[in-house]
Symmetry: C2
Subunit: 500 residues, 2 copies
């Protein structure tokens, strides 16, 4: 999830300040209403070292009535705490009805810092996840609202902040040797974090990832998110929307995906004809070799292709398969579900095409239709597409756990490029069949699609099944990037299998 976060997100200072003040004013009122309604609230701050958890908590609580909240700094557990089950210190701090408990670090210690520092042995990690999930489910079932923030900065920014803190005597003590260690091994810490987010971003208890480089922006996002969540909860309790069984119905304001991954893509990337031919030839030959290695090692491969209409999926798939042994791969095109498919679970038809060891299954459009076209066109209910993110992650995790390489490509073009291509197709008798009225209709919904795609990319890009956003305005560049990514991933997997 983290690699799809745009840390350069900005907002002009004035707008940001205004939004912050507006949200803060709402929050003050909402706190009183929650108190009256007897809602217990837990707000969790986790994040990279020096991401500004303390500062952000300060921003937040200035809008709260101090008689109604407690802040708990959860440092390394004391000797006394270590003598008890690790959830004990958090259970005893769960807020009474109507109160707010703010946690500066939390029960996530055990799967983040404490795990990294070696205080929680690796064979205990999976138990700890289980315990955390139970803890949050039990509390939310009982009516507690849990709001979780992960404050994210990258290695460079962290190093810069550590350096700045170290320069002054007043603040130098705040940078511990462990902090430096975590910065040195940032990639490992980030991987642990990714795993944590994947395991614990549940439908009843979402993570909000906060781009914490810009402090004002982060503060505004946090205060707004808390206010939005509480407002929803209060409204929901008027009907039975907030009953335990409906707890999955809340989703953070759609707005947060308006300026998402796709807006940060550099579509000017391109290759000359000569570069393209040279690279293509080399990569296709390499892929051919790898394909037979895959076969010998019985490694299954799943490649999913999604993208805008006319984004170049077909062309990329063609370059991918042209040198492959046709007995060892299969292209599975996905169109609207047929009668048989309609009377099964939406994932059933894809399960039927799961490749066996040594084979490559290439999906031209995929199960992600659930959270794009089905979501937008209303072919499934809101509850259905909302739970689909988790279902899809679980399916891909199951494949990856059984040794499958899973890669997903999003072929990105801009709106102008799409128009050019649509018009080309209409003008070319051999390609006219590729363009229908529906394509133009979908195009009209570009913005809603973009929002849905942004959400999809963040919520389903996992360490075990990453999304690769391909800059597709230049077809040559796009095809080479796809091939290169596949070759790299297969080489890595083959190396891992051989090392075992």
């Amino acid at each position: 999830m983290l690699e799809k976060i745009d840390l350069n997100v900005t907002m002009d200072k004035k707008t940001c300040k205004k939004a912050m003040e507006e949200a803060g004013a709402r929050l003050s009122v909402l706190q009183r209403e929650c108190k009256a309604a007897g809602i217990p609230v837990m707000i969790v701050f986790e994040g990279m070292g020096a991401a500004g958890k303390g500062t952000q908590i300060n921003h937040l609580i200035q809008y709260l009535d101090p008689r109604g909240f407690d802040v708990y700094a959860c440092n390394r557990s004391t000797e006394d705490e270590q003598l008890r089950p690790f959830l004990w210190r958090y259970w005893t701090k769960t807020p009474a009805k109507g109160r707010i408990a703010v946690f500066d670090r939390s029960w996530y210690r055990s799967v983040l810092v404490d795990r990294f520092d070696g205080l929680v042995p690796e064979n205990q990690v999976s138990n700890a996840y289980q315990d955390i999930l139970c803890f949050e489910r039990q509390l939310t079932d009982d009516g507690t609202v849990i709001i979780k923030f992960f404050l994210y900065i990258d290695k460079k920014e962290q190093k810069k902040r550590f350096r700045k803190l170290s320069e002054s005597k007043e603040t130098a003590w705040r940078v511990t040797p462990e902090d430096r260690e975590r910065n040195r091994h940032f990639a490992r810490y980030q991987q642990i974090t990714e795993e944590m987010l994947e395991h614990t971003d549940t439908e009843y208890c979402h993570w909000t990832i906060v781009e914490a480089v810009n402090r004002e922006y982060a503060a505004m996002k946090i205060v707004s998110a808390v206010a939005d969540r509480l407002a929803w909860e209060l409204e929901a309790r008027k009907t039975d929307q907030a009953a335990p069984q409906n707890r999955g119905n809340y989703s953070p304001s759609g707005d947060r995906f308006k300026n998402g991954v796709l807006s940060g893509i550099d579509l000017s990337k391109s290759l000359t004809e000569a570069e393209y031919k040279e690279k293509l030839k080399h990569l296709q030959a390499r892929l051919e070799q790898l394909h037979s290695e895959l076969y010998r090692l019985r490694i299954p491969v799943v490649l999913g292709f999604e993208g805008w209409d006319a984004g170049g999926k077909g062309g990329a798939i063609k370059r991918l398969t042209s040198h492959l042994d046709p007995r060892g791969y299969r292209v599975c095109p996905t169109s609207a579900a047929n009668d048989i498919e309609k009377v099964h679970h939406y994932l059933w038809r894809f399960w039927n095409n799961v490749p066996k060891g040594g084979h490559i299954a290439i999906f031209d459009r995929t199960w992600y239709g659930r959270v794009m076209v089905e979501r937008i066109e209303g072919f499934c209910t809101e509850a259905e597409w909302k739970r689909a993110y988790q279902e899809i992650n679980e399916m891909e995790a199951h494949m990856a756990n059984s040794g499958t390489v899973v890669l997903k490509f999003w072929l990105q073009i801009d709106k102008d490029e799409q128009e050019r291509r649509f018009k080309d197709r209409q003008a070319n008798p051999a390609k006219q069949w590729k363009i229908t009225d529906e394509d133009w209709r979908n195009r009209a919904k570009w913005d809603v699609y973009e929002e849905a795609v942004n959400e999809m990319l963040v919520r389903t890009s996992t360490t075990y099944a990453p999304w690769i956003v391909v800059e597709g305005n230049d077809k040559h560049y796009a095809r080479v990037k796809v091939l290169q990514t596949v070759v790299d991933a297969l080489e890595k997997k083959i190396r891992e299998v051989k090392e075992k």
Copy 2:
């Protein structure tokens, strides 16, 4: 869960046959209705070897229209199946809307037989559980009804059946060397089974444990259970009770707990005064030694006491603590929740009393109030007590995982004995305070309580936190049994810790 199953359950032949025919007739109609309603149904048969899965499936399907179901025998996976993620073979067999799929063994292979036979390595087991839970949740969320039976026989019965099968040439092939191996290591297989039941008896997908020694009784129970479940589902779909968020609302007919654990207890067990004194002295001395070992090894201990009013909890606790160092234990009496406790999660107050390493916490009445008095008196909603079984199991698992010894005692007396004791108390000025009108009121509800207790004992007796039913009519016997059980459990734990 298994040790609380009464394999000697009987029913007279005629009643049983009549119940079977009635359920079968209902089932035929229900199948048609489910087809019309487009409900996909999966029926899973798991069980000990030779428990009669095949026979029972035959009984069941004779009531079904053969055009509407498929039976899948799930043997060891083929080479082709092994080349894919293990859920693939089951996903592809999920039934279309309106159809029934019957599984003779199932996806549970991977955590039962295949695990026992070493085909699934131990470090993959926890992943397999995760995958199974996701699989069932995804399908039930989508409207599939999954009904799971576990056919249980004990070691002796299994051996007998194997012997009988081996005697004839026609059936001898059915007993494989693996079967014999599993019989030889029955305890280990049973433990694996217990673990499976604990992990996968979810609110949306219950296990029905079938006492399979008496085949007619088993058949009747299975056919009735399927009919009941389908009838509920059809009814529920008329409102929104069957929506994914309400999937936990179904619970198997309460009747199944009417003749439960408690009816099989031998209350005539007793000790003479001399035996009692001798044993008590010895056990108390031993417990004192163990207490200091606990302290040195930092092992926490949780002992929970429940039982009928006047069942002897107080007396047993007194004998337990009389020789212990008071700095190392604490008795936590549980009465109705106070104002502070009421505004927290019902488990919060018990979390506050979780003992630290080396200490013993003795709970006089416990968190099980949720599924007894709170259930029966309507102090919590049906949804709340129904999900409490899982919540409690999770809490105890968390304690056990962190090294805590968890034991729960149910002090059982019969109704006459209770009356005698109540009257004794009323007649004794020193004990009059112990008996109130409420006790008499509760006594009037003996039968509903008994059913609730039976359900509780089955659903929350786990390998990591077992229930011990104590025959309590003779106080001497009861006290010694409690002490002996605690001493044995502590000795075992101390041995384990030392061996590590």
